[in-house]
Amino acid sequence: MISFPLLKQSIKANKNIWFIITVASSLMLMTIVFVTGNLNVGELRDSFSDTFVKSEIESEIRKNSINAYIEVNDTVNTIYPQASNLYDLSSATLFVYSAYVDALHPTPKEAAIAEIQSQSTPELAEFAAGVASAIIDRYEVELPSSETLLDFKVQFVTDTIVANIGQDIDENTIALIQALSTQIIELYADTNSLTTVQLQTISSTFTKELFVSKIDAETMILFEENDFDIDRINSLVSSSLIQYIALTNSGVESDDAISQISVSILSQMPSEVTDSLSEIIDLNIDHLVVGTIFYKIAGLLLPLVYVIVTANSLLAGQVDSGSMAYVLSTPTKRKVVTLTQISFLVMSLFVMYLIILLSGIIAIQLVNNPNLMITVSDITILTIGAFITMFSIAGINFLTSAWFDKSKNATGLGGGISIFFLVSTILGLLGSEVIPTAIRIDSLNFFNYFSLITLYDVISVLEGNINYLNFAILIFIGSLCFAIGHLKFNKKDLPL
């Protein structure tokens, strides 16, 4: 169904422009891959990410460590009066009790309880008697030596505090309270009185010890990816707490102190700016440059020129000049002419894109950069998509070439439509979602609705979900145009 002499003629007539466009497009793609791969567009993103993400993480660590400290310090301040009272009471009871025992009093326990009760204020008398009774009971059981007496008292006070806080407290808090009570009482036993600064030191020491162990595994991985190891976190926590304590002690409100200490770069900027900066950090520049800039615009432009010129030269150009008469004056059917020319146009485009694809793959292999976000499979699907898009546009140009007898009409309409699509895509790009909001002109997105090229959705392709329906529509439009062109050329009068 095709004429080989005609095919040969078409190849000879169009080989130069085909060759030039194929080489130019291939070199363009290779250059773009080299540039994105070697200049390392990723570095820019990484430096953004270094600056912003690390600043955010640091700020989070500071804020969280201070909040943890506040919680601990609240607990300390609650526990301290109770603990000191209980400790004093325990010491007094055991002192009185020991005195009665030494004086061989027949009932030293009751005597000691009675004395403690009598020394207390009337409101606390009953409570003091209860505590005295409890510690004497426990003393009589455990009988601590003079070396273990302190530990015994600490243990007793801690147990009492824990017993007093009630039932609805979780184990972690109980453990926290136990640990804090122990520390407070040990220190109190030494000094008989604790200053606010001493209490703050207990809280901060405690927070530091606890903070790293409370970070969950997932967060820890994120921290480590951004170079936040345990030492760095600990030192951040220490410095945050030191700053916080210093600020609050000098009269700064707690919230103000927190925001002063945990300030990040992003939190200093207006939200519009931070949004667009985050977008830039998220922007995949390889996808934008190779996918959209090359495959939807630059890489379509040259083949588009080829299609406009060649589709015209295959029919309308030859009818206009009259050279078609030589083919049709031989026993060559018109439908053989159209089928041959369609085959040539589609096959030449196919081979063109095959070579572009191979060039792209070679470039990716040569660049050999693991940070390059464009893979061989990406580029393969992108090229197939570009070929399908160009098939559709080739159909339109073939239709006008078959329809009109004058070259200028065929290229005027077919080429005009094609260029309009491309220009709409370029304008539409400036308003499309691949462009960061900072430089996007939303209203230009409107143009995307007027371009056939919009159906070639490189973003979806690169994200891995190929829109088969769009490709089917492009193939359908192309095939329909080829079919109408074929029928029209077979029926029409030729001015030869």
Binding site: K12, Q318, A325, Y326, T330, R334, D493, L494, L496
Partner: protein
């Protein structure tokens, strides 16, 4: 047998342009001339014979195949030289001839080579750089190379120098001798007059008349112009029983028509007069069509 039959073919392009009710046949072995001014409809008629355009009305058949619907089948008999010379975009005339040979699946290049020799053409040139004459010769070779039985030639001598024109007309004579049917269009009367068996004149899309060249070359009556030495002889001659077409008393001239059977008698009569000169006024194709056209104008045939 008629190789080409054009029956009442009309193609109306509007504004009185087109061809209207064209009817003629070309017999096998005949050279049929088609004459008309530029824009008279010659190429349009040929376009329909080649099946490039579809007539509004009427039919054209080539050896009983419909030239429109069975165009491809008729091409196996047809060699065509188009009026507009534009070649496919190939690097040389040679490549073009080879490509055409491919289309024809031509194996025998004897005729091609002979034509190249006759026309002394260097086919290595790029078609775009060829002179008009070279292009025309290349187109003629492409049209003739398949040794087709029917040749359709649209103004084939355009651009040829006089010497080449003569050579080309000789080639046509040879082809005719081989039994080819030739349809040739031209706007030059003398070219067709010497070559053709019959000639059709087309004017404003209508066929004015079809002339049989044989009848024009050998008319029933011959026309003579005679000038006498003096008025006496002139006056005396007017008494003779001849058919006087026109007289010029002040110049002693007469124009007379003589039946070809009476020529001898006429010369004998004339020898008795003092004659300054006498010449035969040749009847030719141009005059034939002019007369036909004037007659049609006079009797008011609507064209």
């Amino acid at each position: 047998m008629n190789d080409i039959e054009v029956r009442r073919v009309t193609k109306d392009y509007g504004y009185k342009r087109g061809i209207f009710d064209i009817e003629f046949v070309v017999k096998q072995g005949e050279i049929f001339g088609f004459i008309g001014t530029n824009g008279s409809g010659k190429s349009t008629t040929i376009r329909h014979m080649m099946g490039f355009s579809k007539p509004d009305h009427g039919t054209i058949s080539i050896r009983n195949l419909d030239a429109t619907t069975q165009a491809t089948d008729t091409k196996k008999w047809i060699g065509y030289v188009p009026g507009e010379i534009a070649f496919p975009e190939l690097e040389s005339g040679e490549a073009f001839i080879e490509s055409q040979a491919d289309f024809w699946r031509l194996k025998n290049f004897e005729l091609t080579n002979r034509l190249i020799e006759i026309f002394q053409i260097d086919l290595r040139a790029n078609p775009k750089k060829m002179s008009k004459g070279m292009k025309q010769k290349t187109a003629i070779i492409a049209g003739f190379m398949n040794d087709s039985d029917i040749l359709i030639l649209d103004e084939p001598t355009t651009g040829l120098d006089p010497l080449m024109r003569v050579k080309f007309l000789q080639v046509l004579e040879e082809e005719k001798a081989k039994g080819k049917t030739i349809f040739i269009s031209s706007h030059l009367f003398e070219e067709l007059e010497h070559l053709c068996d019959r000639v059709a004149l087309i004017r404003d899309g209508h066929i004015v008349s079809i002339a049989n060249i044989n009848e024009i070359k050998h008319p029933q009556e011959r026309e003579f112009k005679i000038e006498f030495m003096n008025a006496d002889n002139y006056q005396r001659f007017l008494e003779e029983p001849f058919h006087f077409d026109r007289i010029r008393p002040d110049q002693n001239q007469v124009f007379i028509s003589v039946d070809r059977l009476d020529i001898h008698q006429f010369i004998v009569k004339l020898s008795t007069y003092d004659v300054k000169f006498f010449i035969e006024i040749k009847y030719n194709l141009e005059r034939f069509f002019k007369d036909t056209f004037n007659y049609q104008e006079r009797v008011g045939i609507e064209l």
